[in-house]
Symmetry: C2
Subunit: 143 residues, 2 copies
């Protein structure tokens, strides 16, 4: 199948997707929580992801290294401009995937769960197809 690509391309890409997954989910969550509560603390993320605050602290250390987050000791987290941009992009993707799953008949609960994983593995092209089909199915609704 598909003669001019290797299996390794596919798996390399999946591994690379996973490496960026935490970053995307974290900055999106930080942005969310800031919007809802005015600020985002480590404990807020720990509760959202159901992990210990230590796990969050270590993840945040990495996001700082990558220039997505800033913070001073014992203070709430802030997003850098790059962090805000990634959050916006992550949210757009998340919404498109979720709305698509809903449009093709997946329940709210299941769509929410599946979206959280799928969103990190959809290329631009696939996302466009999702968007287009969501529109089409909505127009079709009456049928």
């Amino acid at each position: 199948m598909t003669s001019r690509h290797t299996f390794s391309d596919r798996h390399r890409r999946t591994r690379s997707d996973h490496a960026q997954e935490t970053a995307a989910d974290y900055v999106e969550a930080i942005d969310d929580i800031q919007a809802a509560e005015g600020r985002c603390r480590v404990i807020d993320l720990a509760r959202r992801f159901d992990v210990s605050h230590v796990t969050v602290t270590k993840a945040i250390a990495r996001l700082k290294r990558e220039g997505l987050v800033t913070s001073e000791p014992y203070r709430p987290l802030e997003l850098t401009e790059a962090g805000r941009q990634l959050a916006a992009k992550a949210r757009r993707t998340h919404t498109i995937v979720y709305e698509f799953l809903r449009a093709i008949g997946v329940s709210e609960q299941v769509a929410a769960i599946d979206t959280e994983g799928i969103e990190h593995h959809v290329s631009r092209q696939t996302l466009d197809c999702f968007l287009e089909l969501t529109q089409r199915l909505r127009g079709d609704q009456s049928a």
Copy 2:
């Protein structure tokens, strides 16, 4: 959104999906390679996934612990019955996702890549929706 579930449910599920991801991809690959070459060696998997043979050896050690694979030192890999069943299930899911992406207009190359990640995050319900829509779109082809 979706009032009676927590964010943590979604992320817990995604983490659990990832834990099973390696197992599914490996047994599927072993089954593939056995079918094509008569046997599957460590080096075959290393080439397919584009990782070192050491990485494969360690992953295989885990699959042995989990009862999916057996092998003797310096000998080719064998699947247990459980391994074969998981491989079959993984292949079914893989095919459904791939055919679905193709049906909604994604190119062969991109569909092959995206499928490799998405397949691990589609619940049964979503898979059913994929299948149904694939059928519908194929009938619709003329439109």
